[in-house]
Symmetry: C2
Subunit: 438 residues, 2 copies
C-alpha cells in the first residue's frame, strides 16, 4: 500500500517539485516507498478501515445480479440513481433543494480530478488567469498548466484565504489587462494546509467574487471529514449562482473507484456533459452502482464517523509529535479535519533540498514547492496523517526532526554556501539527490 | 438494458444527428428506449453472455481480499500488472516485443474514448486537420470537435480506406496551407461500416503516411471480434514507429468498467501520462484489477470465442433479413466481424428524416449523418447486430423495410416537397419530429 501510494505521487510531484528531474524524483520515491520508510507524503485514505468483506459482497452481487446493466455502457451525465444519492450527500452539508441543488444539475465524473478538468476545459483559454489559494492542490495546478492558464496565488492565514488579498489580486489582474476566469478554492480542511475558511470570510469571499463577476470553483473533498464538529457550510450552500461545487467519494468511501461529481449551474450542465463525453464517453456504470448501492444499503454515515475518529486520532498524534519533537522555529497548521498538516521550517531550511536526506533517514513528506505555481514553498512541507498509524506518525516526526536538526547544524558549520538552493529560493534549481540515495 | 444503451447514445447523437435539437433527439430516444422498440441503434456488447456469477465472485474477492490496494489510489500510467496483461492481449494480434511493444509504453485509459482524447490533447491545436475515414466513429468526431480541429474525410469502399483518396486528401490539405496532424483510422471491422482494410492496403496506407510524415492513430476496439478467421494484422504490428495503437476491453470484456489503453511511441509516453493525470489523476485501481484478474484467472479466450459466435450468428441474421426484406435499391456492407452493418438507402430516402416514423414503427437505428463531420450520410444508417437476439433483429429489419416502403410510396405520391430535408441534404436542417412521436 505505502508503495502504491507513494508511486502514485511520484509522477505528479516529479513535475512540481522544482529542481529535480522526473527520473531523480522517481529514484527518490522508489527508495521512499520501501516499507521501512515512514511516509507522511501521501494523500491516501485509510481504506483498511472499510468493512472490506461487506463491500466485497456488495460488489460481487452488483456484477452477478445486475451485471447486464452495471457492466454495460452508461449515460454521459451519470446514472440518475447516483445523482440522487449525491444530492442526499450534499444536503447533509446544506446544499439542498432550497439552494437549487438537483440531480438534474449533477454531472458524475472520474473522481474530483475530472470534475476540475472539465470546468477548466469549459472556461479556460490559454493566457487566462485563475486565482487560487497559495498553496493549493497539486492536481489543480496540473489542470491549469495543461490549460495554459496562469495561476495567481492568493495568500492564506489560519482563517483561510485572506479576503483583502483576494480583492487586491483581482484588482492587480485587472490592472495588468488580463482576465481572471474563476477563483479555485478548497475552503474546508484545505489541501495542503488543512486550514478552513471561516464562516464570516466565506460570506466576504463570495461577495467579493460576486462584485467582481468572478466564478467560484469550490473543491470540497474533505468537508465531511471534520473532527471537531461540523465545518462551516460550503460556499455553494450560501449562493445559488456563480458557484461550481466539486466533490468526490475518494475520501469518504474509496478512491479506487474514481467517482466524483460537479454540481453545476443549470445553464452549463449540458456543456459539461458534452465535454465529459468527449473525454471518457461515460463514467463507469459499475463504479457508480458501487457507490450508489454503498450509499443506499450500507451504513455510510457510520463509516464516515469511523474515518473521522481514526483521522482525528492521527491528527492528534501528529500535532503532539510536532509539538514534542520539532526544532524551535518550526510552525504548523492545526487542522480541524481533512488529511494534512502544513509545516513551516525554521529559517534557512529548504524542504526540497532536505528531501534526499530525509528519505535516507527513512521518512518522506512532500516539499511545499509542489503546491505553488511560482516556485514558492521551499520552506514548507505537507505532512499527511490519514494513512500511517499514530505510532508510525510519531516515529516519522522523530526522524524528520533529527534530519532538520542535522541540517541546521550543517548550516552552522558550512554556512548556506553548502546548499546552493538557498541562494535560488523561489526559482527552478537543480538539487540533484546525492549518492546517499543510491 | 435497451433503455440504458439507447440513453447512452442519446446525448452523443443528439449533437451529431444534424437538424434536430438535443431535446428533440432526447424525446425521440426516450420513445426509442421503450422495450417494444427493436433497437438497432446501440453499440453495446451482449453482456448477458458473460459468466456473470463467476465475474461477480471475482469482483467480490478483489475488494474483500485486496481492497486496501484495489480500492486505493493508483498510478497515472496504470498498474504494471494490467499493462503486462495488455501486452499479452496485443501479442495475440501480432503486436509483440518484436515490434517494440512493451508494458513500459502502455498507458491505461478510461475506455478507448480517453485514449483518443489524450492523443488529441497531445497533438491537436485549433485549426489543425485530422484525416479520418468517412464515415467514422461518432465519439472521435466529438473529440476532434472539442479540440477545434477540422476533420477531412477519406472515402472508403468495401476494402476500407481508399489509398488513392488518402494521397489526394493529404495533397489537398497541403495545398490549402493547412496541417494534417494524423490519420485517425479504425482499420478492422470499422465503426460504423463494419468494413476491414485489406492486407495489401494496410501496407500502402502505412507507406503513404510514412512518406507524408503523418502519424497514424489506429483505433482497434473490434479486432478480436472476427467471425470468419483472423483479421489482417493491425497497423501497429507492421510498423514500430509512427503508429499510436488504441484499444479497449469494452467490447471483449465489459464496457461498464471503462478500461482501455494506448500503446504509444516511447518518446511521448510520459506526455500522455501527464495529460491523463491532469484529466483523471489515475485510472481506477479496482477496474484495472478486475480486468487483469479476469485475464489471468478466467477463460477469456473462450469468452472471446463466445462473443464471436453470438455476434457472428447475429450478423448472419441481420444480413439474411436485409437480403430477404429490404426494398430494392438498398445496399449494405457485409462485415467479417465487429458490431455494425452500414446500409445505403434507395435514392431519395433520408435516414434522419425517416427516424421519427421508424421509431413510431418500433425500430431504431442511427442515421448516417452522425458519422460525418460535414453533414454527409443522410442516405445511410448504421445497424447494430451485437445486442438484439437474431429474431429481434429480423423483426427490426421487417419494421424498417416497411417504413422505408411507406416512405418511398409517400415520396411517389407527394414528391420530395413533403420532406424538406431532401432539399437540404448535406446541410444542417431542422427536421422536427412530428406529433406521431408524442
Amino acid at each position: 500500500m505505502t508503495g502504491t501510494t507513494l508511486d502514485d505521487y511520484t509522477d505528479r510531484y516529479a513535475r512540481r517539485v522544482r529542481g529535480m528531474t522526473a527520473s531523480e524524483i522517481r529514484a527518490l520515491f522508489a527508495v521512499a516507498s520501501r516499507p521501512e520508510v515512514v511516509s507522511l507524503a501521501g494523500g491516501a485514505p485509510y481504506i483498511a478501515a472499510l468493512p472490506l468483506d461487506a463491500v466485497g459482497e456488495m460488489l460481487g452481487r452488483l456484477a452477478a445480479e445486475q451485471g447486464t446493466t452495471s457492466l454495460q455502457y452508461g449515460i454521459g451525465q451519470g446514472t440518475l440513481e447516483l445523482r440522487e444519492r449525491i444530492c442526499e450527500v450534499m444536503a447533509l452539508s446544506g446544499i439542498d433543494v432550497n439552494c437549487g441543488a438537483s440531480p438534474e444539475d449533477v454531472v458524475v465524473t472520474v473522481g474530483g480530478q475530472q470534475a476540475l478538468d472539465l470546468v477548466a476545459r469549459l472556461f479556460l483559454d490559454p493566457g487566462d488567469v485563475v486565482l487560487a489559494e497559495g498553496p493549493t492542490y497539486v492536481g489543480a495546478l496540473g489542470v491549469f498548466q495543461a490549460a495554459q492558464a496562469q495561476v495567481v496565488h492568493v495568500p492564506m492565514d489560519d482563517d483561510g484565504l485572506v479576503p483583502e488579498a483576494l480583492e487586491a489580486a483581482i484588482a492587480e489582474v485587472a490592472r495588468s489587462g488580463r482576465r481572471a476566469k474563476f477563483l479555485y478554492t478548497i475552503p474546508t480542511f484545505q489541501n495542503p494546509t488543512g486550514v478552513t475558511l471561516t464562516d464570516e470570510r466565506r460570506e466576504r469571499v463570495l461577495d467579493i467574487c460576486e462584485r467582481a463577476g468572478l466564478l467560484v470553483v469550490e473543491d470540497d473533498p474533505y468537508g465531511q471529514l471534520g473532527f471537531d464538529g461540523d465545518a462551516p457550510a460550503p460556499l455553494r450552500a450560501r449562493r445559488r449562482d456563480g458557484v461550481f461545487y466539486l466533490s468526490t467519494f475518494s475520501k469518504t468511501f474509496a478512491p479506487g473507484l474514481r467517482v466524483g461529481w460537479i454540481l453545476a449551474p443549470h445553464a452549463v450542465r449540458d456543456k459539461l456533459v458534452i465535454a465529459s463525453e468527449a473525454q471518457i464517453l461515460c463514467p463507469s456504470n459499475y463504479a457508480q452502482a458501487a457507490v450508489s448501492t454503498y450509499l443506499s444499503t450500507m451504513p455510510w454515515r457510520e463509516q464516515l464517523k469511523t474515518y473521522r475518529e481514526i483521522y482525528g486520532e492521527r491528527r492528534d498524534a501528529l500535532l503532539a509529535a510536532l509539538a514534542d519533537l520539532m526544532p524551535s522555529g518550526t510552525t504548523w497548521t492545526e487542522p480541524k479535519g481533512g488529511l494534512f498538516v502544513w509545516a513551516s521550517l525554521p529559517d534557512g531550511l529548504d524542504a526540497k533540498a532536505m528531501m534526499p536526506r530525509a528519505i535516507t533517514a527513512r521518512v518522506a513528506y512532500v516539499p511545499g514547492t509542489g503546491f505553488y505555481a511560482d516556485g514558492s514553498g521551499a520552506g514548507n512541507m505537507r505532512l499527511n496523517f490519514s494513512f500511517p498509524p499514530p505510532e508510525r506518525i510519531r516515529e516519522g516526526v522523530r526522524r524528520l526532526a533529527s534530519v532538520m536538526e542535522q541540517e541546521m547544524a550543517m548550516r552552522q558549520v558550512f554556512g548556506p554556501v553548502a546548499r546552493p538552493s538557498h541562494r535560488r529560493r523561489g526559482q527552478a534549481g537543480a538539487d540533484v539527490p546525492g549518492p546517499d540515495l543510491a
